[in-house]
Amino acid sequence: MTKTISKVIAADVGLVERTIAAMLKRATLLPIGAKVTAELGQLAAALGVEPANLAATLTADDRFQHEERGGTVYFSTEKPGRTAPPVADWKPTHNFASRMSTTATDVSSEQRQEISEQYAARASANRAARLRAREDALRAEQESLRLATAAAAEMLAGQSQSSGMDDDLLGNDFYASIASIEADAGDLTADSFIPTAATPSLAASPVEQATPVEQATPVEQASPVEQASPVEQATPVEQATPVEQATPVAPTPVVAVPLTPPTVPTAPVVPLVEVPPTPARNLTYLLDTANGQQTLDFANNADGIFAQYGSEFTNLLRRSISDDFRFVSFAGQWYLEDMVERFSKGDLRKIKDYLAETNDALSDRAFLADLFGKRPEQADYEVWRFSLNYRLLKEKKEFEFVGVADERLWLANGATLFPQKRKASELGQDYRFLEEPSLSGDGFNVVEEVGGKQRLRHTLTYYEYENGLIPYDEAAKQFFPGPVMDDQRAAVFRFESPQLYLSFLTELRFSSGNRGGYIVGLDEFYQNLVPGATFVLEATGRANVYTLTYERLKGSQEERLLQYDERRARYIFRPVVFNVQTDPAALITEAKYPRLESSHKLEEAERKKPELILANAFESIGETVERDGHSALMTLLDDLLPVVNIERPFSRAYLRALMSSSQYPAFSADSENEGVYYYNPGKK
């Protein structure tokens, strides 16, 4: 009996191990300790045993858990094994510091950055100081050279007169030397501001200056043959060159050696030191300025002169080089025509294809990087950039510049970034009044100054909401950059709305001729607002990127707002829930304007006449009153403004001007109550 039991137990032990082995085969990818489950039937089939026996064996073993789900029996076990204990106190022992520098200390990334910045600042300061010192040395050198030359010439003239010595006696070599010195001075002038052309300091030591005295020793002078040689007499001029940088002592040997007998060996050296300084020269010139001719003194520092008369010099230069074919310019930068990189037709085709592929406004940097493999760190990058822009600008049939200042964007000519409900020409005509400064102001854009930064606050009208626009009025002109090119049609901006995680392109279409300007492309953003909402635009570090923000209300607001029902082709009021800050005076609600319900859109011909829009608005919201013995409609300017802006844009100033104009006698202002206006339909 005992033997039988032990046999059974041994068989069970073998079965348990085989079961575990079978289950682990399907748990290869599971971590140690993970639960491994298998169906009893599948296990029994795999092991070739009866399910009942296997169930009994596994149930008896505490390593297995028995489960029953939906009538099916499962056994599960944990994947056995040991995990390595985590290492808590590991320290690197084979790093750079321990191998290469035993005295090195660890620094944090902040300290490392600080050290790098300090080093860069010191290096920059040293470089600037070196350049300044080199320029100063060159200027001093040049001035002393000129003084020495003048003094030498003067001295020679005096000596030759008093001693009766003529030019032949001095020898032509001397004048050749003077000429070469002057030529050198000219070269120094030309190169003096180009750091790479800097020459080593030529400052002479006093010992060197004394050298000519030694040459004038009595021994040499005692030899009549040597004295008679004009060649030797001229030689000391060259030897005396170092003196030119400091004092006019240099020419002394020239005069002293041949003319004075051995009895006066060194005397001429002394009086030459006392040569009176060159008299002060007149360096004043006249400069034509906007305020008439001004006197300018070139003895002053060049930076000071430029600070005072920079714009005059810039205008002078512009006039001089704008018609000079050797110069070319792009967006305020100038370069030499023969230094510009050339682009083939194939290159231009690549750019055109790239623009067509992306159907986007792309920057010059994108073309250089993606099509020409140019990187900003390359020395010729700016030349390539300038050349590319200059060339693209010449291809007006193919490319259109839509950039600002340093962000140079290009579009394929004729590409449409923003499909519009209305034609660009119609929108431009609608905003025509913006070109009259007196009518452009007092609109829906306001420039604010917050924390030293400019912001543009805008109140949205129905017309803008429907067409995705912002008017380019006086405030917007102050806020956005103007065109870079004289004939620039548009500039493409990126607007980012951090509140909505939106980033989209917009296009500022500059005003031209009798068309007003506007920004287009805000349709998607406006889907989150309602007409009458206010939002703020703020510039970023990049000239063509702006952030858009609006104030969210704490709670939602529900109003019945005016909307256009395309199916019924009429305006209706619908309940709208919104949580954006609005200007209550600009909201078109049913409570305020109930008679706008079911009104029709004006015909296009009617819409083009502002007086018809005005009359229509008066009839929709005006109150009938008696005026000058006739029946008239009365309303407030503030109430009228949002309503006329449904069909066409109007600024407050434009509206006021229209209703005060003698051209439209049907409209009149109340002389006693400001902001009250009347419409008398009989006075057309």
Partner: protein
């Protein structure tokens, strides 16, 4: 002697061209005008009157 009226001479332009050529980079009009002042000043100083 009456003061001379400042004009941009062809020699000034030549020096400016040389400067641009050596610099090897496009320049703004302002930067070029600044250098023009340097050129004119150097010329006036070296010439004297």
């Amino acid at each position: 002697m009456a003061d001379e009226v400042i004009k941009v001479k062809s020699s000034d332009i030549e020096k400016l061209i040389e400067w641009l050529r050596r610099g090897g980079q496009p320049q703004s009009l302002e930067e070029m005008s600044r250098h023009l002042v340097e050129i004119m000043r150097e010329e006036a100083t070296s010439k004297g009157r």
